[in-house]
Amino acid sequence: MLYAGIDVGSLSTDVVLVDSDLQIKGYSIIPTGADSKKAAGESLDEALSQAGASQEDIGEIIATGYGRISVSFASDRVTEITCHARGANRLFPQAKTVIDIGGQDSKAIRLNRRGRAVDFAMNDKCAAGTGRFLEVMARALELDLEELAGHSLKAEKTVPISNMCAVFAESEVVSLIAEGNPREEIIKGLHVSVAERTLSLARRIGYQSPVVMTGGVAKNAGVIRALEEKLETELLIPEEPQIIGALGAAVIAFERAQKEVS
């Protein structure tokens, strides 16, 4: 029997399938696009084919993420705060703090001794310090996201970015390029700005090491480096950080199924 977690985020829809030993049997990451229900179905199918399984093999489905409400075939919905905490705890039982930076939200979550979320802080409405912010800047710099990360590691200095707002920061970046600042240093400045926003969230919950970082932005080595400096601790990064919310949801799906049996 398999248990599914579906994380419908603002940018990616991720599915994880686990078996009764909580081992990952298949997963998928696809863009959410305009139709989140369709994305959920497609992502699930992809994970199932990877696992060599079919719908009938699924015992329970938990949906999470921004679009959790639209997953009508899920048996229940849980917020991504609880799910990222659970997923991170599954991979790193010693973790005390989780930082999830996705497309539109960034979150700092404090875990108790049992690895459950007890407190959290989230960014406000605006895109400052999120994956979307970095995407907008990558576009302004005419680079891919993957390239963005690598470039900043090469920088020797940092050009500070003073605007937090994605719209204003974009024009700031454009004028910094025009002024002839090296691209790497501007990019490093952007990563530092994301790290500073994240630090203030982490402080609000009184973060403690070990800190796990999840969400798509954890694939950005430049942000990781900047954040490790700000938080003054090494980050634990899962092999595939983008599926940790879905993994947590799958773990919860398994637990719910156990409860129903007993």
Partner: protein, 333 residues
């Protein structure tokens, strides 16, 4: 009763006098859809006042014979200033003291006397019979709400109050009584206190199905009164209003916390959701006072900041649901 409506903004406006003079008090609640008012009031002023101003101009509310603006904060004073320049509105500024001692009571008493004169100028008559029955009706509401053991879904209380807005207090009481008999919820379940500034409908909707105690002037606090003590009607009303559990605008944080201490004695409050209204200094100060209080009591607290907009619902939903989930997870242990 002549049936004409008197609009009011703040629950420190004594409905007793308005009904006693033969009018129907109608609370100016924020509209369900935000209405722009940037040309009237600057966008860094209280969103509640701004939305009411926009709604008033757009014809969202029924016709008013007059409007009472209590001077609860600077934003409401600006609102009064704008309205008093418009020919279409009869407005009265009810100056509300920030302190609650004997001198404040005397001052507020004079304000209430002026309010009555103004109501008479509008054609109202403070009729002995109607006044005494309206005093009874408001006293009855106080009794129904005085008992802080009330556990009621915030949504229901709020909806009930909105439904009966502009109707005689007696009708509201009857509905409230039925509601409290039927819908008071069981003890020992997860109960949440919703406090802070006037919450958006979206936040109330999210909490539907939870057991909520609504402190804020939309819920419990708006209906509580102190004792009617004094020599004449006005001094007694002044006493009753200034001695109810204070709203955050009173510079009296300690006394405000008494209501919470009393609630804690009779209720199992598992978590507190604080609504922080954007651009409202009073609610930001109040949050700091409450934060300390709930931390000392070991009760988890979530702050939700909004500008009463509708587009904010998605993020609020995740915050509130995650907060409820952390409560279920059992906290620090």
């Amino acid at each position: 009763m002549s049936g004409g409506r008197i609009g009011f903004l703040c629950t420190y406006t004594p409905g007793e006098l308005i009904e006693g003079a033969g009018f129907n008090p109608y609370r100016l609640l924020p509209p369900s859809e935000a209405v722009g008012s940037e040309d009237l009031l600057d966008s860094n002023l209280c969103p509640y006042v701004r939305q009411v101003a926009g709604a008033l101009r757009s014809g969202y509310y029924p016709h008013f014979q007059g409007i009472v603006i209590a001077r609860s904060c600077e934003a409401s004073l600006h609102f009064y200033n704008i309205l008093s320049r418009e020919r279409d509105f009869n407005v009265f500024l009810l100056d509300l003291p920030r302190q609650r001692g004997p001198r404040a009571q005397k001052y507020f008493q004079a304000q209430l006397e002026n309010l009555t004169k103004w109501l008479e100028e509008l054609g109202g008559k403070l009729n002995e019979e109607e006044l005494s029955s309206s005093l009874d009706d408001y006293g009855k509401t106080r009794e129904l709400f005085q008992d802080t053991r009330i556990r009621a879904k915030g949504v229901d209380i709020f909806q009930l109050a909105s439904e009966y807005n502009g109707r005689p207090r007696r009708d509201f009481n009857a509905a409230l009584e039925g509601f409290l008999n039927e819908k008071c919820l069981e003890e020992n379940a997860l109960s949440i206190l919703l406090t802070g500034a006037i919450p958006p409908q979206g936040l109330i909707n999210i909490l539907e199905g939870e057991e909520i105690i609504l402190d804020t002037c939309l819920g419990l606090r708006g209906f509580l009164r102190g004792e009617m003590q004094g020599k004449n009607l006005f001094s007694r009303l002044s006493h009753a209003y200034l001695n109810r559990p204070p709203c955050p605008r009173f510079l009296d944080g300690e006394d405000r916390l008494n209501l919470f201490s009393r609630l804690l004695e009779t209720q199992e409050i598992q978590g507190v959701i604080y609504h922080d209204l954007g651009f409202c200094d009073v609610s930001s100060y109040d949050f700091l006072i409450q934060k300390k209080f709930w931390e000392d009591q070991n009760v988890p607290l979530l702050k939700v900041k909004t500008e009463l907009g509708r587009g904010e619902t998605g993020q609020i939903l995740t915050r509130v649901e995650a907060f409820l989930e952390t409560l279920e997870e059992g906290g620090e242990e």
